[in-house]
Amino acid sequence: MWATPSASDNRRKKNMSQNSSSTSKRISTYLMMIVLIVLALSIVSLLLSVNAFAAGNDMLAGFLLVIGFIAMALSVYVLLQSRKRAASMKIEAPKVMTTIECKKCNFKSIRQFQRGDFVFKDLDPCQKCNENMIITAIYKEVKEKEKTYNV
């Protein structure tokens, strides 16, 4: 029922991955082209602003300067964004707490979870009454409040 992959299958898979990476390259080139055009236009704008400034047209010079800088900043931003990958990703481990209680004297303490803890596990005797303490709860506290939508 489950055929083992033959040499031709492997070749096909290899081709598939090559096709896939070439498509990816095409997208990058496409994006790069747009960014480069915007970058070139921003440089033209900056040159024009210098020209306008020399001609004494301060208002036009300022206008072109702003446009040039905005376009340049945007293109650099897009370029950096496209290079940004999964580097900053990580799985955050939440802080889990264990509540320990003495059933006799109601002494309660909370500490960080340790491997081997479980709810209703008997622990060392209570510091106050010498009765065995037990774990009554293990939970994580979620700090951020959920957004409410008033509906």
Binding site: M16, V44, L48, L64, R85, M89, I138, E146, V151
Partner: protein, 377 residues
């Protein structure tokens, strides 16, 4: 040369104004023409990039899950050889559901397949981690299942992503991009679950067993098939037969078989069955909210629900349910404080149901449904 070109631009674009308005009008025309012909394609590339970003994240989560699993196995199970190859083989395991063209008897076929799967996976874990105890084996099995789920999600998203890129079909990419936030939420939940299973922490789904454990703690328990425990506890002058999966290892047991066995043992003389489980909340509902209803509150493939319904219908026993609201992320990640705090509210609600729906001296079955990881009895 640039300035000379700009001088000519007004005549080309019909403008008689200065050079800046010529540049702007030229840009407008270029943008208009580009979007006219390539608008959909640009939109698709934007979507592809979005999916690609999520796919990288999924790959990272999957790899991280595999790493955590292997490290946990090495730490707990003390294997003599490197378990990586066996873990990779485990991650690719599949289960074929029974043929449903003739649905008669399909529940028992599915039950059998799930039993075989469970035994097979447990045996694999024992081989991977020979030094681990029964509780640790259950926790490791759950850890591996979470890693398996992450691997599966990654492969499915990658499949549609590559298919979309190969065919350059907007509709394949669009469908994937539309469901991606939900897929990512689920993947992040499984990543969180993986860590909880590896450490043996109670998860949100364990609220049912936690309520049952709180009710039966201090009373003598007996084992019932399969992987469950039962204890007889007096509540409000009634006899409550409390059932939960045997903890503290990661285990959901088979509440269907346990309820059937207890009803059979008492010759059908049970006056009510109350099931406690975690229920999926809708957006806008509060985590840890306790609600009440009718029917078998149990998820999974449906085998246990079928068996419970079959047993209660046979003896005409009323079936009540108390559910604690939480979302999928809360259900498989370490238990939130709001859910742990809801346990007392659930017990109050169960007592109210018992007082209102049964008489003194009656027998009631209370079932805490869910994964009992990190919860003893």
């Amino acid at each position: 040369m640039v300035f000379a070109a700009i001088e000519v631009l007004p005549s080309l674009f019909g403008g008689g104004g200065d050079s800046i308005s010529s540049i702007l009008s030229m840009l407008f025309y270029v943008v208009f023409i580009v979007f006219l012909f390539y608008g959909q394609r640009i939109q698709m590339y934007v979507m592809i990039r979005e999916v690609e970003g999520s796919l990288y994240k999924l790959k990272y989560i999957k790899e991280e899950g595999r790493k955590i699993t292997i490290e946990t196995i090495k730490e707990i199970g003390k294997p003599k050889t490197d378990p990586s190859a066996r873990v990779d083989r485990y991650l690719e395991y599949f289960t074929i559901s029974p043929q449903s063209m003739d649905p008669a008897g399909i529940v028992y076929k599915l039950d059998h397949i799930l039993d075989v799967r469970d035994t097979r996976l447990k045996d694999e874990v024992k081989l991977m981690a020979p030094e681990s105890s029964e509780v640790q084996i259950n926790n490791l099995e759950n850890t591996l299942e979470a890693a398996m789920a992450l691997n599966y999600i990654y492969k499915i998203v990658r499949h549609f992503y590559i298919q979309g890129k190969k065919t350059l079909s907007l509709y394949i990419i669009m469908q994937l991009q539309m469901i991606l936030p939900l897929v990512m939420k689920e993947a992040e939940a499984y990543a969180s679950a993986l860590k909880a299973f590896a450490d043996g922490q109670p998860i949100g789904d364990g609220v049912g067993p936690l309520v049952a454990a709180k009710l039966l703690h201090g009373y003598e328990t007996a084992k019932v098939p399969k992987d469950c425990v039962v204890a007889s506890v007096p509540i409000e002058n009634r006899t409550a037969l409390i059932i939960k999966a045997e903890g503290p290892g990661g285990n959901v047991g088979k509440p269907g078989e346990a309820v059937s066995a207890v009803i059979k043992e008492h010759k059908g003389k049970i006056d009510s069955v109350i099931m406690i489980d975690a229920g999926l909340k809708l957006e806008g509902e509060i985590v840890g909210e306790v609600v009440e209803g009718i029917g078998a509150a149990i998820g999974g493939p449906g085998v246990d629900q079928f068996k419970i319904e079959e047993a209660v219908v046979k003896h005409k026993i009323p079936l009540n349910a108390v559910v604690v609201k939480e979302d999928i992320g809360d259900a498989v990640s370490p238990m939130r404080k709001e859910i742990a705090d809801s346990v007392d509210k659930v017990i109050e609600r169960v007592k109210t149901v018992i007082l209102e729906r049964t008489k003194e001296g009656d027998k009631v079955i209370i079932v805490g449904v869910g994964n009992t990881i990190g919860i003893g009895q």
